[in-house]
Symmetry: C2
């Protein structure tokens, strides 16, 4: 990635209307191609063509394929989060609500398994140059989980539990996407890790 491209990404504000439209077209093309054939089907030349943009321009907006797919994930997560806000989970305990929320997200991913493949593979393959963007995704995920728990001021213990839940969520998705775990297996793993929430709710003293 060139230095100027890095700067262009860092200082994201102040895009003209046409630039904003280009960005949208690129993200749309990315999601579309990903939905068809997953990570491998998102080929930079094809994204550029489908978005009606030169290859160099694509790289100005997203300095690598990984950046592009992580940005695509940010986009999708935002949709998901607003959907979830409108229809909050209904479980009695925090653990139930979190599990319910994650299973809902999981079902959404099952509807577009190729897209899920592209996004999750990009996320876990990302190296340090994509850390800020991956971190954003992580914060979005955390926000969704905390929403489901109904917490505004989580304790350090609870934050640790949320982190572990996110770890499990990502890794379980990978095993499912690579065909090494069934949907039922993922469900069990999610429910298992969510028990940590109840655990941290009880005793919050011992170091």
């Amino acid at each position: 990635m060139t230095a100027e491209a890095k700067a262009a990404i860092a200082a994201s504000p102040a895009l003209t209307e046409r630039q904003e439209a280009r960005r949208r077209r690129i993200l749309h093309a990315s999601a579309q191609l990903a939905s068809r054939g997953g990570f491998d089907a998102v080929q930079m030349r094809e994204v550029a063509e489908a978005a009606g943009v030169a290859l160099g321009t694509l790289y100005r907006y997203f300095p690598s394929k990984i950046h592009l797919l992580v940005a695509t994930m940010q986009d999708q997560l935002q949709h998901l989060h607003s959907t979830l806000r409108k229809h909050p989970p209904s479980g009695d305990s925090a653990a139930q609500r979190v599990a319910e929320t994650l299973m809902r997200a999981f079902r959404a991913l099952q509807r577009e398994p190729h897209l899920a493949d592209a996004m999750v593979r990009a996320l876990t393959f990302a190296d340090r140059s994509v850390s800020p963007e991956v971190d954003t995704v992580s914060r979005q995920t955390t926000a969704i989980i905390l929403d489901a728990m109904g917490l505004d001021h989580p304790s350090p213990r609870q934050l640790s539990a949320v982190r572990v839940i996110e770890h499990t969520w990502h890794s379980a998705l990978i095993t499912w996407l690579s065909g090494r775990a069934s949907i039922a297996q993922v469900k069990i793993d999610i429910e298992t890790v969510c028990r940590l929430i109840d655990l941290t709710a009880e005793d919050d003293d011992s170091a």
Copy 2:
């Protein structure tokens, strides 16, 4: 990957001595290059040259870079497992012993962060064509954890907990390798998820 290469890998038995030596040289070269510069530094041409083998031969033994690195991980895990057998963890509870074991493995990885990077990235990036090999790694990891727990016949509950621990282990490693989590953070996550073990040890009735 060609069909014949797939067959060569599937039916691994009966390698001549020279072939076994070649395989060793390749794995050694892979680990060496990985130790230097991580995933990107393991370039197939360089591996072939360092192992004194033609590029086509390298691909006959390992049908892709991912296969090669996952095999490298199998190799390293085997070392680790035998080391751990000789010096078992000393904690009182199963959770303590597992956490101790994983932290020991983590410290080993910290000594070769580039190698860790190459192996873990390959593992999580692997697609379906590498599932059998990745599954082997997973079983090795499970065996190490069960050893630490001191269990021969784990309950389904306990197996679920172990699965979640593995998820957390892999994902926490990724966040550490990509610089998004500190060593201390990883330690906390491991200790947090290990509490699941104590949880499953207690009540093993409710569905």
